[in-house]
């Protein structure tokens, strides 16, 4: 049995006793009254923090912000609500874009969620990390510090920007371990579902554009689970229970590499643009395939002719360099990075003896090509032993985990 380490966190005490196995607490639900007893509601009310409720995940490239918008505000509550709080709520919920780079993923909004006895909607917002100073400035302008709220933040940026939050925004960050938050967030979001639909899904016939189907997956037996978080870089975790996990490895070839290389090779400026180009390109003009070398399959080693033998291998030749388009290069970059992540994930799954692999992270946002490729590669190279799973809220789990920490939800 692999060595397991107890989850630890840099700044937050470890969570209470773990629940091994399949039993999972349903902490909230998307519909109707919950089974939470009246007594529990009372104790929750006393313990729960003041609004606004935020969870923040400051990554290398993107900042992910989740915001709980209470919908059960009583008239008397509304009366008492301070102006700045109201203005924040209005600002966040009435817009879908903030400044030139902030975006609210409206389609991900979780409606009628009950959190700590309060009912409301959970909003998912993102903006580039390089706009962090502007965000802090906004906090100062909107006089956040007067709300006496606690900002729970995770990701490397929680450390990097801690001082700025304090000196510019007069805000004290509560820094949280990103892996703890990630796992917490995933388990929670999966448990509440996606507005009545399943959170987790997989692809059937991923290689076949006609027959390919996205199907819900019931993650009722989540453990053990290999969690592959693809942000700017990649972290791979083996999760054995809610708070028993270890970081297996990571790779620096992640979403940041895809986007960074695309910028250099194609001059694109946004992730969306890079993906759009990739969708129109042909990577086989850029990559050297097994069949380019062996004329077909390499039978001695059981390698199919279509497999990539050398990523960008055709680009060793001047003629071929001149013959490729930017779209081809974007596609090849996407295929290269995705295949590599798939291959490392597969090796980790083998070494850890785990066969469900959940891929999350913002690299997968609107990135069906990558998801289908991961699904196919994992299935093909493992001869059907491994299953690639995905989750609707891709990159927001860290931020959700941070929010749960704020609410002291175990």
């Amino acid at each position: 049995e692999p060595l397991r380490r107890r989850a630890s966190s840099a700044s937050v005490p470890a969570v209470g006793a773990s629940v091994e196995g399949a039993r999972r607490d349903r902490l909230g639900s998307y519909s109707g009254p919950t089974s939470v007893s009246r007594q529990r509601v009372e104790s929750l009310r006393k313990k729960r923090p003041l609004f606004p409720w935020f969870g923040l995940d400051i990554g290398g490239t993107l900042v992910k912000l989740v915001y709980f918008e209470p919908k059960d505000i009583t008239a008397e509550e509304e009366e008492e609500e301070v102006e700045s709080l109201k203005s924040i709520r209005k600002y966040l919920t009435s817009n879908v874009a903030y400044g030139s780079t902030g975006i609210r993923d409206v389609h991900l909004e979780l409606k009628d969620l009950t959190l700590c006895g309060r009912k409301g909607n959970l909003h998912f917002i993102r903006f580039p990390t390089h706009d962090m100073p502007a965000f802090i400035q906004m906090g100062r302008d909107k006089n956040f510090s007067s709300l006496h709220t606690v900002f729970c933040a995770t990701g490397g940026g929680a450390y990097k920007f801690e001082q700025d939050f304090l000196t510019i925004g007069d805000l004290q960050l509560c820094k949280l371990d990103e892996l703890d938050c990630l796992i917490k967030g995933i388990l929670y979001i999966d448990s509440v579902g996606f507005n009545g639909r399943s959170q987790c899904y997989y692809f059937e016939n991923p290689a076949d554009s006609e027959k390919c189907q996205k199907l819900p997956f019931d993650l009722k037996n989540p453990y053990p689970l290999l969690l592959v978080n693809i942000g700017s870089g990649v972290s791979i975790l083996a999760v054995y229970s809610k708070d028993n996990y270890k970081r297996v490895t990571g790779t620096s070839l992640g979403g940041g590499t895809f986007f960074g290389l695309c910028c250099l090779l194609t001059g694109c400026t946004t992730f969306e643009e890079a993906l759009e180009m990739a969708s129109r390109g042909d990577s086989t003009k850029v990559d050297k395939l097994v069949r380019d070398i062996y004329g077909g399959d390499y039978e001695r080693f059981g390698l199919p002719g279509w497999a990539v033998a050398s990523s960008f291998g055709n680009m060793m030749s001047k003629e071929k360099r001149e013959a490729v388009s930017k779209e081809d290069l974007a596609r090849a970059t996407l295929i290269t990075i995705t295949n590599n992540i798939g291959s490392i994930a597969r090796m980790c799954a083998l070494n850890e003896n785990i066969n469900q692999v959940v891929f999350v992270g913002n690299f997968l946002r609107i990135n069906t090509i990558a998801m289908r490729l991961l699904a196919y590669a994992l299935d093909y190279w493992s001869k059907g032993q491994l299953k690639a799973l995905f989750s609707e809220h891709e990159g927001y789990f860290g931020a959700v985990g941070a929010l749960l920490e704020l609410l002291k939800i175990p």
């Binding site: 870089g233 590499t257 291998g313 090796m347």
Partner: protein, 745 residues
Amino acid sequence: MAECGASGSGSSGDSLDKSITLPPDEIFRNLENAKRFAIDIGGSLTKLAYYSTVQHKVAKVRSFDHSGKDTERDHEPPYEISVQEEITARLHFIKFENTYIEACLDFIKDHLVNTETKVIQATGGGAYKFKDLIEEKLRLKVDKEDVMTCLIKGCNFVLKNIPHEAFVYQKDSDPEFRFQTNHPHIFPYLLVNIGSGVSIVKVETEDRFEWVGGSSIGGGTFWGLGALLTKTKKFDELLHLASRGQHSNVDMLVRDVYGGAHQTLGLSGNLIASSFGKSATADQEFSKEDMAKSLLHMISNDIGQLACLHARLHSLDRVYFGGFFIRGHPVTMRTITYSINFFSKGEVQALFLRHEGYLGAIGAFLKGAEQDNPNQYSWGENYAGSSGLMSTSPELGPAQRARSGTFDLLEMDRLERPLVNLPLLLDPPSYVPDTVDLTDDALARKYWLTCFEEALDGVVKRAVASQPDSVDAAERAEKFRQKYWNKLQTLRQQPFAYGTLTVRSLLDTREHCLNEFNFPDPYSKVKQRENGVALRCFPGVVRSLDTLGWEERQLALVKGLLAGNVFDWGAKAVSDVLESDPYFGFEEAKRKLQDNSGIDIILGVFPFVRELLLRGTEVILACNSGPALNDVTHGESLIVAERIAGMDPVVHSALREERLLLVQTGSSSPCLDLSRLDKGLAALVRERGADLVVIEGMGRAVHTNYHAALCCESLKLAVIKNAWLAERLGGRLFSVIFKYEVPAE
């Protein structure tokens, strides 16, 4: 190193240049007898292999007919020496740029006499491209061999047959190469071949291997993506760019994500969080060097990580790296080593091979030579005919490094008998024959290189004198001088050229060079004369020993053993005396006190052996298979024993009853590698249950085996005939080593 006449050919382009003149003396040697060909054509280099026979002179000793014993006179030699032609098998490997293929094929066609050759084994990506050219030029049928099969066959071959083949790369040490002693069991291992893509193969036995994985991110990715990003077309130039770049300008590091807090969190801020993570911006230009460096790190780290994951899955700790991405490039060896250390936390070792570039050609050759059973023989790297590892200082630009335009050579001699470990070695995997690693010890290296340089005149003189009837002896001796001198100069610059540099390798290189120019045994006459003198003294020595009491006799025997050992023509201090004073004799040597032929074997070793026999001990007397300096050879020892048996009943009956056995060691060196001993000797040691090993002589007991740990009692004896070494060991010139060891329980 055989530089081709056309220098700076790196710029000669891709066209086949027919005007290239090849230096045939140096590069296609023994072509007239060549019989099997194999060729490995890579992306830029061609490796040609052929099997040939080498005819060279050997000194054979033959006993006179002793039927009329009384006719023997004092001045007559004890046996006759005849110089005979001997044919031995040799494997030749030549590596050159693809540019030279046509010129080389023409040359081979013109010089190939052997008409029995019908087929050439071909492997490598270029085999297909050049198939027609080869068939047309050589009129040989091209048999294509599988690339990976050849690679693995070649890898097994070099790991088994070439000492110090594998090395680890350490960037900050001088030199950067740390060679590994050959492991008696080479399997299982992981071979990671980084060509345009990456293949990871698990090798379990000679014939069983399995492709366990691979990656498309390999050398082709570095080259192709690098060419796109930097507009630099050549692989070597890309590497050169990379060696000057700063990846932190392009990569997003942990410290970029965490700010300064990584320290308090115990994270290394320099770790790469996201390769090319900083290039995701439109408003910044990046330098070619920085992008190349970032790309190099990205690819090396990725390969290292996958290799570690596979090594872990298969519980393997030896991972060999090869392919054009690695091939002698310090930059890539360094990044791969770093990556393996990082991802395996030191549990897996990244190993590289000296002859990595030849693996495919060796394998293809072996495939074609299967009926000759090349694997049943032992082979030895011929230092005289092999180029050795190049200087690959990262400071040198690709043009300066002159990798191109060079004909790199490897020659392997087939040994007549297989070599194996001494069964009495305590721990064969950790056995290191050599006492001082001159690669490591710069001071010792300097001393010994100078020492061998200074002794060269004497060796040349001796070589000429040994062949008074030869008209071209002086000329050949001069060529020998030049060759060995050049080797010494190469080793001054590149001590790592032939693996770990040791006194043994310096001695062996000299023997190989002497053989190359047909000086098989310059000391044969000296040995003959000394043996004659010593044999005449033998009865007297034995008589005087027999008059002594037990304890006195033991002391006298040991003194005799050591006195004999003084007569070492290899030791400068001794050869100076011997050259100047022909009357310097055994008595004098004994007075000077503090394995050689003549006095050593006859007056030192045999009385000692006789004493052992008298107390009922069985003795296996092992001598060199081939000549080295004035050390007694197995052939000579047989005659000497026969002559002694004629004078001494103890030795006589022992020989008859096989209580005294004379065998060969398998070595032709003044030193001794106990991991490469004649199979017959090893079998006998096992069969007779040997429980004491006596190793005599400075070469065998001090330069080598001084620290050798055996699983039985051992006695190491020598006289230190070198003032510098004596001082190193804390003694004086002509001090004695008498090291009796009992293995720890």
